[in-house]
Symmetry: C2
Subunit: 363 residues, 2 copies
DNA sequence: GACTGCTGTTGTTTACTAAACATGGGGAGG
DNA sequence: CCTCCCCATGTTTAGTAAACAACAGCAGTC
């Protein structure tokens, strides 16, 4: 079996009973091929032990996008965060597949950014999507400076010339505050995180900005700060309550995890949610729907963010001219449940505008 | 010629010597069809006088996107603005064609927004791109409320749940101010427009925000306001100069038109550009390259904005689920010419990251 | 007369291929 | 040992067959 030059695409085609073109399309993931045919071709490839010997030396690397999952300190990008990440990955991989990219994932934990940079140098990839949650401006400039087409998700910075896709924190926080206001609350508190990722920072800024926009004043003691883990938030809130702080009418928590710990502490001190204090979170983690009381929270389509990241990246990769950097903010939805006062029936997002099916005679 | 039911797609196919599928593809603009074949099919269609009688009653309207060119007062959307618009249209129509949409353009001048809304009601279109330059928040809510998939370009508002694609005014202004600062200027002025479209408003806000960010203070008399036409800006600047104002070291003009009038007035009063006063504009209109001195200014890819608007709109139209609203800010470039001090050689935008052509053996 | 279900006609779309095309390795000739 | 050309190999475009969907019209039923 060594003398005979190994098989060609045409041998496979004959064995599978299809045309050479079809084999080529299957092997390169192009065109529209039915599952049955694809399977038959792949089977033939396997049984004949075909090695695509042609183009370039060894095996060819298809166009690959690399997703960098970076946890510098891990205060935020941790287990609690994993629901998120998998939604991002869903969105990215669906769109990457549609555009014939392979999506590969590389995780970094506790390593310096330079390690990330090194891993990228000379890697056989077409573009990078980096999880920016814990990245500083300097980190981003460093990664951006590597010369690969790059998109950052889950963060956004002014001034930096890089591509970002993030949730629209400012509009989201507005929805929370406007909701509280509509329910008659005037004294609105904010539960922030000790650790300040960029999104947390943006939410904090949005809190003050939108309180002002709504004509509300922030009372000094109503902005709390706790650890950004369930246990930490619980413990910190307990300390605060023990020290006898004066509670506001309602609180916006910078994320759901913190809201869970916060609520648990409140309940333990006999504060009823939402009768005494209303709470709204951010992220809409799965538990939020099932906890008691069910948490009203902000929902952002992570899939959409992943999808848009791939779209922008593909443009970057294939454009013939340099592309201007683009910053995309994806809108958020307030999903109303029971943790904010006078819980009303579940709110529905407005229906999508139906596709107009025009039927007028032309001109 | 009346008894015989008029021709079918299969008659055309026979006449043109192709398959019925090909005729269908040609007539619907789908698939890949060579020019020759397309021509032959269309010829057959014409010569047989074929009327696609099937689907729905009359003639079918293809998927159409409508671009709304709205000039409410015309202070901004006028002749000077037309270079812009045509760049937007270029970007939109290229992408619309690629996605098999027809792009139609409807202009409104001086009519109330309700007229725009009426024109849309029941129109046989799939989606709308609206030129938001002169639209207020209320206008946008109104158009948005019509239930058609809609994207607004050339403006962006916080809080409103609508899709926007605009230039990144804040980052752009930062680039201007950073440039001035790097050249040693500390006293930086701003030439605003009397009329306040949203982009002008955003630039004004960005001016103050970024001056603060760069640790610079704004002197009271250094923020001027003039009319937003060439003649108006010229006349207003002359009045100011006649009244003997104290000029700053350099000025950022909120757009090129104003910069032209401003510079003309300055020159007339013996102020040398850039030796005495530096000026940077915004828009990079064609004249900016050829005037004397050539104007350093901000360039934004209007084509990219148009392209992205169509992309977002297409997502909106074809998505099976409701899509979250998206706000996109396209980055700007400072194109350095002679109107700012110590004019250096023409700056080039950094080359696009080359497509990585990976060839490593897989695992 | 109205409604229901069947049937054939028309147009659409998917999955596939023929043929033209690109690429590069290897052999013939210098 | 180098150059050039040819052809083997894989890729891509432009097309089709066949399955499919959407009706219109008609027959049969109540």
């Amino acid at each position: 079996m060594t003398k005979k030059k190994s098989y060609t695409i045409r041998d496979i085609a004959r064995a599978a009973g299809v045309s050479p073109a079809t084999v080529s399309l299957v092997l390169n993931g192009k065109g529209d091929i039915s599952g049955v045919t694809r399977a038959r071709v792949l089977e033939a490839v396997a049984s004949l032990n075909y090695v695509p010997r042609s183009t370039k030396s060894g095996i060819e690397a298809g166009d690959t996008l690399r997703f960098l999952k970076i946890a510098k300190h891990g205060h935020t990008v941790n287990r609690d965060h994993s629901v998120f990440i998998s939604d991002y990955i869903d969105g990215m991989s669906a769109e990457a597949t549609r555009r014939n990219y392979t999506l590969e994932i590389v995780s970094f934990e506790g390593q310096p950014i330079s390690a990330v940079a090194e891993s990228l140098a000379g890697a056989p990839i077409s573009g990078v999507i980096a999880l920016g949650t814990e990245l500083s401006e300097a980190d981003i400039r460093l990664v951006q400076g590597l010369g690969l087409p790059t998109v950052f998700i889950d963060t956004v910075y002014d001034i930096i010339d890089a591509n970002f896709v993030d949730m629209n924190n400012e509009d989201a926080v507005y929805k929370v505050l406007a909701r509280f206001q509509k329910q008659g609350f005037r004294r609105i508190g904010f539960v922030a995180s000790h650790v300040d990722t960029n999104n947390f920072h943006l939410r904090r800024a949005a809190f003050f900005k939108n309180m002002a926009r709504l004509g509300l004043t922030v009372q000094d003691g109503d902005v709390l700060s706790v650890e950004s883990t369930y246990d930490g938030a619980y413990a910190d809130t307990c300390s605060l309550l023990k020290s006898g702080i004066d509670l506001a009418e309602c609180y916006f928590c910078t994320n759901d995890i913190i809201a869970y710990g916060f609520i648990r502490a409140l309940k333990q001190f006999g504060v009823r949610i939402p009768d005494d204090v209303s709470v709204i979170g951010f992220d809409n983690l799965p538990q939020s729907a099932t906890m008691e009381p069910a948490l009203t929270t902000i929902e952002v389509s992570k899939r959409k963010i992943g999808y848009l990241a791939v779209t922008v990246l593909d443009d970057l990769i294939n454009a013939s001219e340099p592309q201007p950097p683009v910053k995309i903010l994806v809108g958020a939805d307030l999903v109303i449940r029971a943790s904010d006062a006078r819980g009303e029936p579940q709110e529905k997002r407005k229906a999508p505008a139906a596709r107009a099916a025009g039927k007028l005679p032309a001109i």
